[in-house]
Symmetry: D2
Subunit: 293 residues, 4 copies
Amino acid sequence: MKNVPFKGVIAYPITPFDENDKVDINLYKVLLEKLIVTEAHGVAPLGSAGVMPYLSDAEKEEITEATIKQVDGRIPVLVGVSNLTTAKTIEHAIFAEKAGAAAVMIIPMSYWKLTDEEIIQHYDAVASKISIPIMAYNNPATGGVDMSPTLLKKLLKIPNVTMIKESTGDVQRMHYLKKELGDEVSFYNGSNPLALAAFAAGATGWCTTAPNLIPKLNVDLYNAIENNDLEEAQKIFYKQVNLLKFMVNKGLPRVIKAGLEIQGKYAGYLRSPLKPLSDSETEELKMILKNIE
Amino acid sequence: MKNVPFKGVIAYPITPFDENDKVDINLYKVLLEKLIVTEAHGVAPLGSAGVMPYLSDAEKEEITEATIKQVDGRIPVLVGVSNLTTAKTIEHAIFAEKAGAAAVMIIPMSYWKLTDEEIIQHYDAVASKISIPIMAYNNPATGGVDMSPTLLKKLLKIPNVTMIKESTGDVQRMHYLKKELGDEVSFYNGSNPLALAAFAAGATGWCTTAPNLIPKLNVDLYNAIENNDLEEAQKIFYKQVNLLKFMVNKGLPRVIKAGLEIQGKYAGYLRSPLKPLSDSETEELKMILKNIE
Amino acid sequence: MKNVPFKGVIAYPITPFDENDKVDINLYKVLLEKLIVTEAHGVAPLGSAGVMPYLSDAEKEEITEATIKQVDGRIPVLVGVSNLTTAKTIEHAIFAEKAGAAAVMIIPMSYWKLTDEEIIQHYDAVASKISIPIMAYNNPATGGVDMSPTLLKKLLKIPNVTMIKESTGDVQRMHYLKKELGDEVSFYNGSNPLALAAFAAGATGWCTTAPNLIPKLNVDLYNAIENNDLEEAQKIFYKQVNLLKFMVNKGLPRVIKAGLEIQGKYAGYLRSPLKPLSDSETEELKMILKNIE
Amino acid sequence: MKNVPFKGVIAYPITPFDENDKVDINLYKVLLEKLIVTEAHGVAPLGSAGVMPYLSDAEKEEITEATIKQVDGRIPVLVGVSNLTTAKTIEHAIFAEKAGAAAVMIIPMSYWKLTDEEIIQHYDAVASKISIPIMAYNNPATGGVDMSPTLLKKLLKIPNVTMIKESTGDVQRMHYLKKELGDEVSFYNGSNPLALAAFAAGATGWCTTAPNLIPKLNVDLYNAIENNDLEEAQKIFYKQVNLLKFMVNKGLPRVIKAGLEIQGKYAGYLRSPLKPLSDSETEELKMILKNIE
C-alpha cells in the first residue's frame, strides 16, 4: 500500500517580506498559525503561493524549519523542493526530510522543455535519496512543461512517488488518473476553480491558498463531499467560485496579500517584480469578498 | 418564467444511409424507437451525430417529420436547424415548429468568423419568426466559432432563447453560466466526457448520442444526481467514461454505427467522406463495450 | 512533369448580392473585369472571398459560367468546388471542368474532423472523375481541419493534385513543402500577411482578394521577387501590410465591399449573417487606404 | 539615435561541464574562440544555449569574465542577465557592464505570469542602474511570458532599451515591429527556422547557436541578404533549415553537444536534468549534418 499522508484541504501559506525585501519570518508564522487553527488538513510551504522560485536557498531552509516547528506535529507538512537542476532538487529534498516534512512536492521546472526520459530520471534521482513520499506536481502554466497522463503513470512506478497534483484545469486528466490507476494512487487538485469538479471526479484533496482568506468555506466543501451531499457541495462551491477564479487570474500571492489587508490583517510586502493589485483590482476583490459573506 | 421543455438525458439519433447514399428512413425510425423506449427524457434529430450538415434540405425535412410522427408526443423533440445563412436557418426553424418540435437547436455555423453582433442578429432574426424556444449551442470544434459566456448572456435576452448547450469541454464556462444567470437559464452539457462534472456543476441536462449504445448507464447517471448520491453517480460515470471519450475522439456517427453492429444491430451506411472505423479501432471499441458490461 | 497552370498573383473576386439577397451577376462581371485588366496572373471565383459556402448549387454554377465567359481565355481560371460531402464535390468539379476551368481548388471542409484516410479518399474520389489539375487547399481557420505537411505529401501522389495552397500562416509549413517536395510541387500562399515571407520561402503564387483594392501593389511585389530585388519587395510589402492584416482580421468580403465603396465603386450587398463593417471599422479602413497612397 | 551595437550573426556559445558537474571553463574558451574566428559578428554568453538558468551566480560571473577576456575586443559581447527577481537581475547587469559587455539581454522570466506593468517596472529598474544598452528578449516558450508587440513598444520608451529579440516564431510580430517602430528600433530574430523570413522582414540580426556547427552557412545567409540576393539567400537557407529545425525540436545545448562530437570535437557534459541525445536522435543528426556538406 502506498504511503499517502494527505487528504482534504492542504493549505498554502504565502511568504511575506519586510520593507527591505527580507523574508518576514515572524509574520510568516502568524499567517501559518491561522491556517493550522482553521482546520486545514495539511499545510504546504514553498508552493506557488509562497513564491518559492523567488527565494534563495537560505530563505527556503528558513521557511522549511519555521513551518515544521510552528506546526509541531498537529497536521502533516508538504514541502515544495522543486528546482531547475536535479542536484539542487536533491539538496532541498534531503533538507526537508531531515527537518521533518511528511512529504515533498516536486514540479519538473524547466527552461528547456524536458523529454519524458529526462523527467523520469529527474524524479528517480531525487526519490532514491529520500525515504518520505513525493507528490508529483503537474502545472504547465507555472512550470513550463506539461506531463501527460501516460508520463504520470510511469512516474508512479517509482516507489515513493505516491501522489499526483494536477493543475492543468482539465478535468479529463483526473478521469484518466482515477480510471487508469484506480485506488493505488491519490490525486490532488491544484486548480482552484475546479475544486467541485475535482472532488466529484474523486480527488483525494485540494491544494489551495484560499484558506488564507476563506478557510471555513474550503473545509465545508470537502465535508459536504465526504457526506455524499452534492447539493450542499454545489451551494458551498458557488459561494466561493468567483474568489477562486480571481485568485488564479490575478496571481495567488498578490490576491492573498490584498485580501488579508481587506480583512484588516497585516500581510507584509511582495518581492519584485511582483507588485500589489491595482486600485481597481482591489475594489473588485472587496466586492467579491463582500458577496461571499 | 422562461419556457424550458428539456431536462435529463436528451438522446441524439444517428442518420443511417442505404447502400445508394440515400437516407434509410425506415432504419432511422427503428433506431429512434429504441431511444424512446429506453427512457431518454428527450430526443434530438439533426444534431452532430445525425450528420445534419451533410444532408440536403429535403432530407432534413424528411427526418424532422419522421421523428415527430414516430415519437408521437411521448417525449419532447429538439430539432437541429443550424445553417450557414440566416435565411436558410429561418426556413428550417419555421418548418420544425410547424412539424411539432418542442424547441429548435441553433449553432452559429460559420465559414467566416462571425462577429458577436452578427451572431446576435442571426439569432434575433430566427427568434422573431418562431414562437417555440431556442437552444443556443456553443461548439467551436464543429461550428467554427466560440461564443464567449458574455455573448451567451446577451443571447439570453432574446425572449425565446431559453437554453444553452455548452460543448467546449470547459467546466468553468458552466460555472459562469450557473453563477451569472442563476435559475433564469438552463444549461445543457454537450461534451460527453464532462457528463459528471457538468451535472455536479448544475447542468439541467445532457445532450448525448451515447443512449444509442448504453441507454441505461446514461439515465442512471442522471438519476443518481437527482437522488443527490454523488458516490453512486461517480461509480456509474467511471463505468462509461472510456466509451464517452472514444466517441468524441473517433467521431460520433462512426462510433455509434460500429457500436450498434458490435451489439448485433444493423446500422446502415455512412455518407462520404465519413468512413467506418478501421479494424483496430473496431477492436478497441469491442474491448471498451465488453469492459462496460 | 506536373501540370501547374498558375503562378504570380491569383485574384479572388467577391460575390456581390442585390437588395433582395440574389447574386448580382452583372455587378460581379464588372468587378471581375477590373481584376483581369489590372494584370492579375489568374482569377479564382468561389473562394472564401466569394462566400462560396453561402451559395446554392445554382448560384455556384451561375458564377462559374459567368467567370469563364467574361475571362474569355485571357488568364487561367481556378474554380472553388469544395463541399462537405464527396458526392457534391465531384458534381461541382465536373461542372467546372466542363465550363472551362484551368483547375479546381478543394479544401476538405469538415464538420466532423476527418481522418487522414478519409481526406485522401475524398481527394482521390474527386480526382478520378476529372482531368484538370487540383489545388489542395489547407486552411484550418475556415475549413475546420488542418492537413499536416505529411498528409499534403501523400495527397500529391494523386496524379492531378499538383498544387498546394497553404493558409495556416505558418511559414515553416512552406519550408517543409519546398524542402521535402523540391521542384515537383508548386505551393501557393493564401495567408495575406505572409505574402513577403512566402515568396522569400519560394512560393509560386499568392492567392489573394487584395487586388480588388490594390492591384498594382500586389503585382509589383511579385515582380520585385521575380527580379531578385528583396529590398524593393520589402519596401512594397510594408506599404500594404496593414491592409493585408485588416482584411484577415475583419473578414475578406466585408473589407473588400467597404474598400470598394471608399474607392467610390458600387459593391452591392452582403448575405446574412455577414454584416457591413461598423462605422469605426470603416474609418480605420479609410485611414489604412489613405496611408497606402 | 539609439545605441545599437549588434548586427548580423550573433553566436551563442554553450556552457560545457566536466564529469563532476562543474563548469569546464577551459573547454568553454576553446569553443568560444572558434565562434570568434569564424566571423560571427557578435557573441552572446549566458543565453538559452548556455543553460544560463541552470547556473549559480558564481558560475555566471565566471563565464562573463572569461568571455570578455577571451574576446578581447574583437567583436561585441552581449551578456544574458535574466533572473526571476528584479534585485538579482540588477546585480548581474551591473556585473556585466563592469566586466565590459557591449549590452545585456533580458527576458522577463516568470513563474507567476507578470502583468505588463510589472514587466515595465522590471526593465525600468534595471535600465536605471546601467548605462549600456538592453536587448529585450521575448520567448514565451522558455521564459513563460509572451510580451505583446504593444508592450514591446512601451519598453522601447526606456532610453537604453534599444533592441528587441523576437523568438515567438511568428513573423507577423516582426512586421509589426518594423512597421510601427520604423528605423528607430532594431529587431533580432531568435527563432532559428525563421532565419530567412526574418531577414526578409528586415531583421538587423540573427541570434543563434548554430555557428557552433555551421558558421559559414550562417554568415553566408546574412551576406546574401546584405547583397540583396534573395535567390542565393534562399539556396543557402534551404541547405541548413533541417538542422535549424532539429536544434529547436531537440533542445539547443543537447544538439550542439552531439553535433560537436559528430564533428570530432570534445564538448564535455550536460548538467542534469538535461541528458544527451538518444542513439536514434544522434543518428538523425548525423544524417542532417551529412546532407549539409
